[in-house]
């Protein structure tokens, strides 16, 4: 145990996404260097995972719910044995509605969410951000380019995330479609070739630059586009990712041959890009709904 060890309340708040960004970063930073607290976090995290079966039982004991479900199932189902799955699925995916942080945020959502939507409604535009599309920094293994025919409406449902720009155009119900630009970073050098002349590890620079350009647009948009509960979760996830990046960079610097640290570093960069992307994608969706 260290002097500045976390109490379980702080850890719970961290897991529930109730901490401010700096506090959240402090927690993940501390957890990274303190096994006792890491263990406590892991336990608490396991406990929240246990809420699911508990919730399921609670759901099952709600007689009206049960009855409603069987009726709903009867109307949408062809085979009976899948009903338990839907019950379970419902309990599972509505779990986030029942976490304390969500309930706490619910009131805020009502107030700020409406305000935000009003603001968004009033000709809220940010073409710079709208141009930012799904980014996949192709690190070690480049994926085969997807084949998509723009002429066939069949591509409206795309199997491949990389074809999203086309899909987004076709799925848009507005005639004046904003043309998204795909940001793809390719040609990442292999891990093996050492290149520390510019202060980056091999392959790191493309991630860092992509993140920098995404961050600029997202920073200006995130308040408007995210609801309070979602915003809190975003900050927590960002703290987790930033902490992982910082830790792994230090480790790779210390031991450039640590392939595992590199693997975690690059996957953390990709997580950060995905996280930033989720904001810009949402912003684009919000804009297209008007």
């Amino acid at each position: 145990m260290k002097q500045d060890c976390l109490d379980i309340g702080i850890i719970q708040a961290f897991l529930d996404g109730e901490l401010a960004h700096t506090e959240s970063a402090r927690v993940s930073g501390h957890v990274a260097t303190c096994d006792a607290c890491a263990l406590m976090l892991a336990d608490a995290e396991d406990e929240s995972a246990l809420v699911f079966p508990a919730l399921e039982r609670e759901f099952a004991s709600l007689v009206p719910t049960q009855r409603l479900w069987s009726k709903i199932n009867a109307s949408i189902e062809t085979e009976k044995q899948s009903a338990p799955f839907w019950q379970r699925a419902w309990a599972f995916i509505t779990l986030n509605l029942t976490t304390p942080s969500f309930v706490a945020a619910a009131g805020m959502i009502v107030v700020f969410g409406i305000a935000a939507l009003l603001i968004i409604d009033r000709g809220y535009k940010s073409p710079q951000v709208a141009g930012v599309r799904p980014v996949q920094v192709s690190a070690p293994q480049p994926a085969a380019p997807p084949v998509a025919s723009a002429s066939s409406p069949d591509t409206v449902v795309s199997n491949i995330p990389e074809t999203r720009p086309i899909m987004a155009e076709q799925i848009s119900l507005r005639s004046a479609v904003r043309r998204p630009r795909t940001t793809t970073v390719t040609g990442t050098p292999a891990f093996a070739s050492p290149d520390v002349s510019n202060g980056y590890f091999p392959g790191e620079e493309s991630y860092v630059k992509t993140i920098a350009s995404l961050s600029r647009s997202v920073e200006s948009a995130k308040d408007a586009v995210m609801r309070p509960g979602e915003r809190v979760a975003y900050e927590r996830d960002m703290a987790v990712v930033d902490d992982a990046i910082a830790k792994m960079r230090t480790e790779v610097k210390r031991n450039p041959r640590n392939e595992s640290a590199k693997q975690v570093l690059y996957s953390s960069y990709q997580n950060k890009i995905d996280l930033l992307n989720s904001v810009s994608q949402k912003e684009e969706l919000v804009a297209s709904l008007k």
Binding site: E45, L173, A261, V264
Partner: protein, 341 residues
């Protein structure tokens, strides 16, 4: 606070379910006759709205090509899409916007619509809708089983059942997909995603919602399964895709099923645990990178290389059985466990 809060949430869930039930009770009884074949390239529905006993409800139907593509935008409401064997598209909106069909493309062979949009239209005595997105208490759609359905929207609880393809892109609301035969793409925003008994390439992502999938497989060789959530948990059972990529930032990942020979499986989370339940005859090369927490396996692993010394990352590369598939596991703060069924 949590007690009453949860009660409230249950109340909300009950209300949603009641809505869904009332939809299923009232919606399915009125079915309009098929519309005349649309011969023009841009054709509007020929069927006038069918008045309903309940508030402002509209029902329209149109004859369509069996492999119809449907696009619609829903600003809020409960959406239920059902595949049926008729070559007809039927849309019923209860307590919501009036709407029309916009045929974007027709089949050169039959002249029937192959791509239809459903868009909101203004009623005479109402203000012009701001967008083409439908607002409805309940929206129910029947569509040919070979259809591709594309939904985008704001707060939508949707159930899509028994069509060829499904694509959903929403800000919030839960999405249920089942019996879809050739591909599922869901970008669920804050909502949760549940997929059951479906095949084809899958791409499921959510920001704070959980993802749960039960019984999914490829429809073509090479179909990839992807699931990604920032803050939610991911639970997968009986997935038979040969390439599976699963990632969460602050949630746990669980997988129960086989690893197919030649398959490639990647499970990652920054701040959560990874739990796999694998059959004892599994054959896989495992590469695990983990920070805090432990790596445990009930199934024997022959270690090839291992680095569990100091430093923020530990790693283990090992073989289960003959090593015929690739399994990559990555977590920062969390444990990895492999269990027997």
């Amino acid at each position: 606070m949590t007690g009453s809060g949860r009660k409230l949430e249950y109340g909300f869930v009950l209300a949603v379910m009641a809505l869904a039930l009332s939809l299923s009770a009232t919606g399915q009884t009125v079915v309009a006759p098929p519309a005349a074949p649309a011969t023009r390239s841009i054709a509007k529905a020929e069927i006038p709205p069918v008045p309903s006993m309940f508030g402002e409800s509209t029902e329209r139907s149109i004859k369509v090509d069996p492999s119809i593509n449907l696009s619609l935008c829903v600003s809020e409401g409960t959406l239920k899409v059902n595949g049926w064997t008729r070559n007809e598209l039927r849309v019923f909106v209860q307590d919501g916007s009036n709407f029309e069909f916009k045929t974007q493309q027709t089949s050169p062979k039959t002249g029937d619509p192959v791509w239809v949009m459903v868009t909101a239209v203004s009623d005479r005595n109402k203000v012009v809708p701001r967008s083409e997105c439908i607002r409805g208490g309940d929206i129910e759609i029947d569509i040919p089983v070979n259809a591709a359905v594309n939904v985008k929207g704001q707060d939508v609880t949707s159930t899509i059942d028994g069509v060829r393809k499904a694509s959903v892109k929403i800000i919030g609301g839960n999405t249920f997909i089942r019996n879809v035969t050739d591909g599922v793409t869901v970008s669920g925003g804050q909502g949760g995603i549940a997929v059951e008994s479906s095949s084809g390439a899958m791409s499921l992502d959510s920001t704070t919602g959980n993802i749960v999938v039960f019984e999914a497989g490829p429809s073509d060789i090479g179909d990839i399964f992807r699931a990604k959530t920032n803050g939610g948990a991911i639970s997968l059972e009986k997935i038979t895709h040969r390439q599976i990529e699963v990632n969460s930032i602050s949630g746990s990942v669980s997988y129960s099923g086989s690893l197919l020979n030649g398959g490639s499986y990647s499970f990652g989370t920054s701040n959560g645990s990874i739990r796999l339940t694998l059959p004892t005859d599994t054959s896989s090369t495992v590469s695990a990178s983990y920070g805090f927490g432990a790596f445990r396996s009930e199934i024997p692993i022959t270690t090839i290389t291992e680095n569990i010394s100091e430093g923020p990352v530990k790693s283990t590369v090992g073989r289960i059985g003959g090593g015929d598939s690739t399994l990559r596991l990555t977590t920062n703060n969390g444990s990895i466990s492999i269990r027997k069924p």
